[in-house]
């Protein structure tokens, strides 16, 4: 019975995704891809933050490198198909992760976060300076979007609709892989490292190597998210790839959705995509202005509503979430469930005073 229900839900989900571009059109199809990109980016960050206990303030490095890797490959290799382009982006990110890993695996906590801030900024500055390669602030375009070409046997043109299916399938596969990754023995060691990396060492696991592997996987999938992002936008610029806010996006998604859960960040990405859409389309500003006009004279209302630009809201959300919702939605749900269970079990183990 339960099995049937799950299969039905699966089928319904797949059908909904398959029909999505037909029902809602290109604009919302692209919005859904963007959400999927953010979800993958957030999950890749959470592999470090939630599962290994390492906060990266510079994950834009990998996102951006994936994006530029794919874009540069497409611009310099004639007739490159979409799959190798995406793979090249991903590999570029993995290589960068492996280069940086020796410098960061020996530290954790604040030092780890700081080093990432610094390296990400270095990449940002470099990308701005190396204008001839990266196009600097103007960026480089990917036009037309490459075809999907499987050994010349099958050629699928990547129009908006086909690209939608391609992106959704690739990202769903990546998310499934990462979910599986957290369930392997290695995933257990990773989580153990988050709780107590000292003991992991004393149990005979190499902390530095383990960190390096998680790091490379996390970087690689952030790169994959970046590559899909570049293909979606058909353009990648230094600001979209490497700037500080790009590193903060996934942190915010993870915080919103819940740091200790695998699926939390995906929900967080959905929140983020909605907020982004809401602000980007100007609806938020209009609503705010209307509300404020009720209370304040119109010129003042205008000024106050101007105050709430995108980064301001980003900052406010970060502050409020850390203050009042530190474990995100997933943590909130888990807490409610635990309370419910505690009531049922009545009691449970009590820690005696030490």
């Amino acid at each position: 019975m339960k099995r049937n229900l799950i299969w039905t839900l699966w089928a319904a989900g797949v059908a909904a995704v398959a029909l999505f571009p037909h029902l809602f059109g290109v604009y919302y199809a692209n919005a859904l891809i963007l959400f999927a990109v953010w979800a993958l980016f957030a999950v890749s960050l959470n592999l470090l933050l939630g599962f290994t206990g390492l906060l990266s303030f510079g994950h834009a490095m990998y996102f951006g490198t994936g994006a530029y890797g794919a874009a540069l490959a497409l611009n310099h290799i004639k007739g490159l198909s979409i799959v190798p382009a995406v793979i090249i982006g991903m590999i570029a990110a993995v290589i960068l992760a492996l280069l940086i890993a020796p410098l960061v695996v020996r530290v954790s906590g604040t030092a780890f976060a700081m080093l990432h801030l610094a390296f990400a900024q270095l990449l940002y500055v470099l990308a701005l300076k190396l204008r001839s390669i990266t196009g600097g602030e103007d960026g480089i375009s990917i036009y037309p979007r490459p075809d999907l070409n499987i050994f010349g046997l099958l050629r699928i043109e990547m129009n908006d609709q086909n690209f939608f299916y391609f992106a959704v399938i690739v990202i769903a596969a990546a998310l499934s892989f990462l979910w599986f990754f957290t369930k392997t023995p290695f995933g257990q060691i990773m989580v153990g490292m988050r709780d107590n990396s000292k003991r992991i060492g004393y149990l005979g696991f190499k902390v530095t190597y383990t960190k390096a592997v998680v790091y490379a996987v996390s970087g690689g999938f952030a790169g994959l998210a970046g590559a899909i992002y570049a293909l979606l936008q058909s353009l990648i610029s230094t600001n979209d790839a490497y700037s500080m806010v790009v590193s903060v996006y996934p942190i915010m998604m993870v915080m919103l959705g819940g740091v200790l859960s695998y699926f939390g960040p995906i929900v967080g990405a959905a929140f983020f995509a909605l907020i982004d859409e809401w602000i980007g389309s100007g609806q938020f500003q209009q609503l705010l202005l209307k509300l404020l006009s009720l209370l304040l004279p119109s010129s003042l209302a205008q000024r106050v509503s101007d105050f709430f630009q995108f980064e301001m809201i980003l900052g406010l959300i970060l502050v409020l979430v850390t203050l009042y919702w530190p474990l995100g939605l997933a943590g909130f749900i888990a807490l409610q469930r635990m309370r419910w269970q505690m009531r049922r079990v009545s009691g449970g183990p009590q820690r005696s005073a030490t």
Binding site: F57, S108, A111, F119, V125, D306, E311, G315, V319, T322
Partner: protein, 287 residues
């Protein structure tokens, strides 16, 4: 030769200001274990407040007095009402929270003062050139170096000659110690946090005449300050001082010889140091 001396002085002046910013950051980090991502945003906020005070009163000196105090007040409010509340959730939460505050300040500044560069001219008595060993040098930069040295001496005096300083040093060396000392920890933390933001505030107003006031100020100073505390070693004032001066000189001469890559030089310097000593030059190994 004269050009070198002038560049050297430029570098020294920038290095001193950098140290003013970085020392507050590293003290708070060493003592409270909190890396305040918004620290350089307070620095920028102070520059804007300074600009506003000058716009209203026309007095640079008043700006140098008031703006840093207002900034320190903002810093204390943040420590008291935000940071303290998330302390229990661990360093990650604190980092993310201060990052949020950083965004709020930088966007708030843009909303109030706009995105254009605002000039803040040095007081008339200091906008002259003085002759040092045959080199014409702006008096204001000399004043800047003097101001930084004065604050540095004041800080050294407080740190090494007062009870508060003793507590702070003990706490930086061993965070667990403070609880054992039977002192009012929240008050000490608040004082240190306030003093740190005050120094950043002084630096902000003081450097504004040289760099002009703009929303990019935080990013410009921010990276350098973070590199200083990473390379110098977390919580090490001596390390921060040395590296700040080195950074100042490196960027000044970098501009002279490698104008394209001056900003990259510091990062290369950082990467080299970290590759050899991951805990920074004067940092202690994580146990």
């Amino acid at each position: 030769m004269e050009a070198y001396i002038a560049q050297g002085m430029h570098g020294l002046a920038y290095g001193m200001v950098l140290f003013l910013v970085a020392s507050g950051l590293t003290l708070v980090l060493g003592m409270m274990g909190v890396l305040n991502m918004a620290h350089v945003n307070f620095f920028m906020l102070s520059a804007y407040l300074g600009y506003q005070v000058v716009a209203w009163t026309g007095s640079f000196w008043l700006a140098l007095l008031i703006a840093p105090l207002l900034t320190a007040g903002a810093g204390i409010l943040m420590e008291r009402f935000l940071l303290k509340k998330v302390h229990a959730f661990g360093p990650m939460a604190e980092l993310i929270l201060t990052m949020g505050v950083a965004f709020i300040i930088s966007d708030g500044v843009k909303a109030v003062w706009g995105t254009q560069n605002l000039p803040l001219s040095p007081p008339g008595s200091l906008s002259v050139l003085v002759n040092i060993a045959g080199v014409q040098y702006p008096a204001y930069r000399l004043f800047l170096i003097g101001l930084a040295v004065a604050i540095l001496l004041l800080m050294a005096l407080v740190l090494y000659k007062t009870r508060l300083g003793m507590i702070v040093r003990a706490a930086v060396a061993d965070a667990g110690m403070v609880d054992a000392l039977g002192i009012n920890v929240p008050l000490v933390f608040m004082t240190v946090f306030g003093a740190g933001t005050w120094m950043a505030g002084v630096a902000g107003v003081a450097i504004a005449p040289i760099l002009t006031v703009s929303p990019g100020l935080a990013a410009q100073m921010g990276m350098d300050a973070f590199i200083v505390i990473i390379v110098g070693g977390f919580g090490s004032l001596g390390g921060a001082f040395l590296v700040a001066i080195l950074c100042g000189l490196l960027s000044a001469f970098g501009v002279q010889f490698l104008p394209q890559y001056a900003s990259v030089l510091l990062f290369v310097f950082m990467a080299v140091v970290l590759a050899i000593k991951p805990e920074g030059l004067f940092g202690e190994k994580e146990s």
